[in-house]
């Protein structure tokens, strides 16, 4: 049923944009990104700029809301592995090496194995998906991710019927992740999804942003993007994916179980104990705007939680 769900959405019958429109858009994005990159790292203009994707397809799941600026998306975020400040990820990740990289996929599946980043990039169709991102701290952005629908990756490893959850783990490497020298949160960072959440067509394994491969501060070389959940669910720099029958205990659940639950669905009606979740500040905007249930993706995902008490399962 889970797989059927994915196949139903699989037909690549996305209204294909005319090639010229698409190329124009891409060159615009690339130009913008390159300019922003040069402004941020003037000394690195001649150095290796992130690789650009070719043959990206556009996704019908994309929002048409205005996309945030490149320097907002890559210069303001949480990635405690690089430090707890909002600019620490950008400031402390310049030397991060994301190759070679492979992800161990194991647990309750029939074909456990390794997922090499080069295979992920070359053997899967990459698509651009422009998603809203709502941080649990009540700010938000619109981000043009590039990636692969997670279900199409997970299917290759043939999870069996006992698999009820998927657990994701971030790399531990104190040299590459200086933030891991301090026990701010229990390392490694782990996250989890219910199987049907992981197989949902909206759930993306992102490999890029703004038409380029992910910069380290955004979770290179691959990260989860679950747009209807608070941003911390979208775990970065993943090295392990494990199918399990037990609900994984995420890092933030360990850190503060009364503040962060397993589901972490965006919900304006359930406040964080220390602040309201009713509104959010879209980065770049002066006024706060109302937060929507499931971050505006209720039509797609609300049915996953039918009959559940979302206040208890926060």
């Amino acid at each position: 049923m889970l797989i059927r769900n994915s196949i139903a959405s699989d037909p690549k019958s996305f209204e294909i944009t005319s090639k010229s429109t698409y190329l124009n858009r891409r060159s615009f994005l690339q130009g913008g990104a390159a300019l922003a990159g040069a402004a941020l790292f003037p000394w690195s203009v001649s150095a290796a700029m992130p690789k650009k994707f070719k043959n990206l397809i556009k996704s019908p799941f994309s929002t048409d809301e205005p996309v945030n600026k490149y320097d907002e998306v890559t210069g303001y975020n949480n990635f405690y592995e690089f430090g707890t400040g909002k600019t620490d990820p950008m400031d402390n990740s310049a030397t991060f090496e994301s190759r070679p990289w492979s992800v161990t996929v194991d647990g309750l599946c029939d074909k456990p194995g390794q997922l090499d980043i080069e295979d992920l990039l070359s053997k899967f169709q990459q698509e651009e998906r422009i998603y809203r991102l709502r941080c649990v701290e009540a700010w938000s952005m619109v981000v043009p991710w590039v990636g692969v629908q997670l279900s199409s990756i997970l299917e290759k490893f043939e999870p069996n019927s006992k698999a009820k959850y998927v657990e994701f783990t971030t790399l531990v490497d104190k040299k590459r992740f200086p933030g891991q020298n301090y026990p701010i949160v229990p390392w490694p960072y782990t996250e989890g999804l219910r199987m049907d959440e992981a197989m949902h067509p909206l759930t993306l394994m992102a490999t890029g942003v703004f038409g380029e491969e992910l910069p380290p501060q955004n979770g290179a070389p691959l990260r989860l993007v679950v747009p209807w959940k608070y941003g911390f669910k979208s775990i970065k720099s993943i090295v392990r994916i494990r199918f399990t029958d037990q609900q994984p205990t995420s890092t933030w659940m360990q850190q503060a179980p009364n503040e962060y639950g397993f589901y972490a669905n965006v919900n304006p009606a359930v406040d964080h104990p220390r602040w309201s979740q009713a509104k959010e500040r879209r980065i770049g905007q002066f006024f706060r705007q109302p937060t929507l249930p499931f971050n505006g993706y209720a039509d797609e995902v609300a049915s996953l939680y039918k009959g559940m008490d979302l206040k208890a399962n926060f």
Binding site: Y80, T84, V185, A256, K279, R281, I283, G284, R288
Partner: protein
């Protein structure tokens, strides 16, 4: 006093204290405050309120421990700057961050301990700011004025707790402030100690 006549230091100290606020104005106008300038302003103002509060509390220990009496001349100004930054901090929270959304703000005050505590600290600072002019010291009488201004201790503790409660996981920064405040309060407790201990040992020997 003689030194002050030779060279007017106070205006420079005043300008230095105003510096962080001027920087925020300049940074806002020139887009230098990052992707979320409102958050930057709010945090910076809170940081500076706390720093001036602790600086003000450091002046009399500095005199007692190191013999630096000159600090006393700036104590009132520093205290008033603590109030200035705390007041701007609150104003930005109310008028910009939540844009006078009184419903949300009221819920914050009653439901979130860190807001309740922060708000309490700021309200308690008001009578201290109001009674800072020399004429108020005279009006109240030295003893009563001193008693009133002892409120700065619970205010400083509340300010540090406010900071502690709002961070998500990384408590290192509030911890630094807590340690500094701890030292400043310990110095005072230590000074108060010998007398109390004498009294304590006296009563125990008689009993």
């Amino acid at each position: 006093m003689a030194r002050q006549k030779k060279f007017p230091i106070k205006p420079f100290v005043f300008l230095a204290c105003l510096g962080p606020a001027l920087w925020l104005v300049y940074g806002t106008l020139n887009g230098l405050l990052g992707a979320n300038p409102i958050e930057t302003i709010l945090r910076d103002l809170g940081d500076w309120a706390l720093r001036f509060l602790l600086l003000g509390l450091a002046i009399s220990p500095a005199r007692r421990v190191f013999g630096w009496a000159w600090g006393m001349r700036y104590r009132r100004m520093i205290g008033l700057f603590a109030f200035f930054y705390a007041f701007l901090h609150l104003s930005i929270y109310v008028g910009v961050d939540h844009f006078f959304d009184w419903n949300t703000i009221w819920k914050d005050i009653v439901k979130r301990p860190y807001i309740t505590i922060g708000m309490g600290a700021l309200l308690t600072l008001i009578p201290l700011a109001v009674t800072s002019p020399k004429i108020m010291v005279r009006k109240l009488g030295g003893a009563r004025w001193k008693k009133l201004h002892k409120l700065v201790y619970p205010i400083a503790i509340a300010a540090v707790v406010h900071f502690f409660l709002l961070v998500k996981a990384d408590v290192r920064e509030p911890l630094i402030y807590a340690v500094i405040l701890g030292i400043l309060l310990a110095e005072r407790a230590y000074r108060a100690l010998p007398q109390a201990m004498l009294r304590g040992s006296g009563s125990s020997s008689s009993g």
